[in-house]
Amino acid sequence: MSFQFVRASNAAAAARFKSSSDGAMFIAGGSGVVDLLSQNVIRPSLLIDLTGLSNRGIDLTPQGALCVGALTTMAQLAWHENVMTDYPVLMQALLSGATPQVHHAASIGGNLLQKTRCTYYRNSGFACNKRNPGSGCDARSGFNAGHAIFGASEHCIAVHPSDLAVALLALNAEITLEGRNGKRSLPMDDLLRLPGDTPHLESSLAQDELIVSVEIPRLSRNTRSAYSKVDEHNSFSFAVVSVAAVVEIQNGLVSNARLAAGGVAPKPWRLASTEAAILHNELNEKTIENAALAAIQGAIALAHNAHKVELLKRTVTGILTQLAGHQS
């Protein structure tokens, strides 16, 4: 494993280096990329170090939104004063995964674009259409307890591992990209792609684009939010199933709701039917039961992951019951 290295001075230079070669990759915190390098899963010809760019830190916009530079670390975001007080779902999601050592390294942009933890992707002895397009998917016929119940294809059944991405989808965050032709923004839901027959194409970023910032809208005072994660152990494990919920309650009725699930799909999975089931309703036992059933509509279990369907139903029930209890 040997490669070339360049420290980019700004986003435009980074974009220029990235488009110069198919083998060019970005690196920021390193916790994802260095791990994959040392396991020979990725073999870049050029690594472009983004840590010299200036988009680091958290600002409040005039509208009260949080504008988070893509190089901000997970620790900086999780322990930021506004996040701790106003965005429980975000703080809980960030601290529910990885370890403090990783929180101090991993960037927000890198977290969103991290690679799947599918064992078949990370072990080059197996066929994987993500790692080696056209080679097949050994996870389909293999041990797939950790794989997708939504959004998979016959070419790939891997899930996206980020907790942060699930929280950002529920928070309706907007992602700003920069490339050689300037900046553009897109909703969190459009950042990552479903595998279809091109599972190696994981995001909507063009070859020369990078994430420069994430904007998280201000929440109304009547909003409650939480992140609930079911995992095999409490530290450094990825979600079996997780749910992020952001629910606004006015006069006892749900006036706004956004929910997303993690660990169940190739990208954070919006639970639109669940949102519809609680909107304009009181969060009582009956509503929550309907909402939980709505969450699992369309789920397709593989040989070993049927438990995820029941877990998703129960996790939605749990988080909505928790948020209902917060009503004053």
Binding site: S2, S9, G30, S31, D49, T51, T99, Q101, H104, A105
Partner: protein
Amino acid sequence: MSEQVKTYQTDKILGPDTVRIQMRVNGQARYLEVPPQTTLVDAIRDHLDLLGTKVGCAHGQCGACTVLINGERRHSCLTLAIMDDGDELQTIEGVRSVDGLHPLQKAFIEHDAFQCGFCTPGQIMSGLGLMREGHARTAQDVREQMSGNLCRCAAYQNIVAAILEVQQQAKADSQKAALLEEVHS
């Protein structure tokens, strides 16, 4: 971190041969020549000959390689040395107090917080990082925030006790210092 002076130029393609970099290691300026793929832990052990930092899993799961980079605890196996050019690095060799062992090292001995000792440098560096961060108040907080450091001998309860004791002592000392300051002023 981004304002730090780098030994090499930005926007210049380097490697695959060795690149000259510089770090402040335990307070001293050190220069080394590494190819881009060298991880920080390999640079620490093989280029700087500081063997206190251990390689356990080599992919961020066990915490044995924990060091402080610019005061923050990080896995040295998950960072490239070339990216730490210009950084301030602290390893277990740099941990001490004026009268010998650092209070956290003494507390590890007093509380029997290790058996084989392989994970101990990483545990100490992680504990120092935890105390500096200041987010852990209870034993449960310490357990959660030390969860990136595995101990195969399972000395966990004693590790938590050692960290809590030093943290409480430091808090008491700083309160005492603050009180003295009030008296003096």
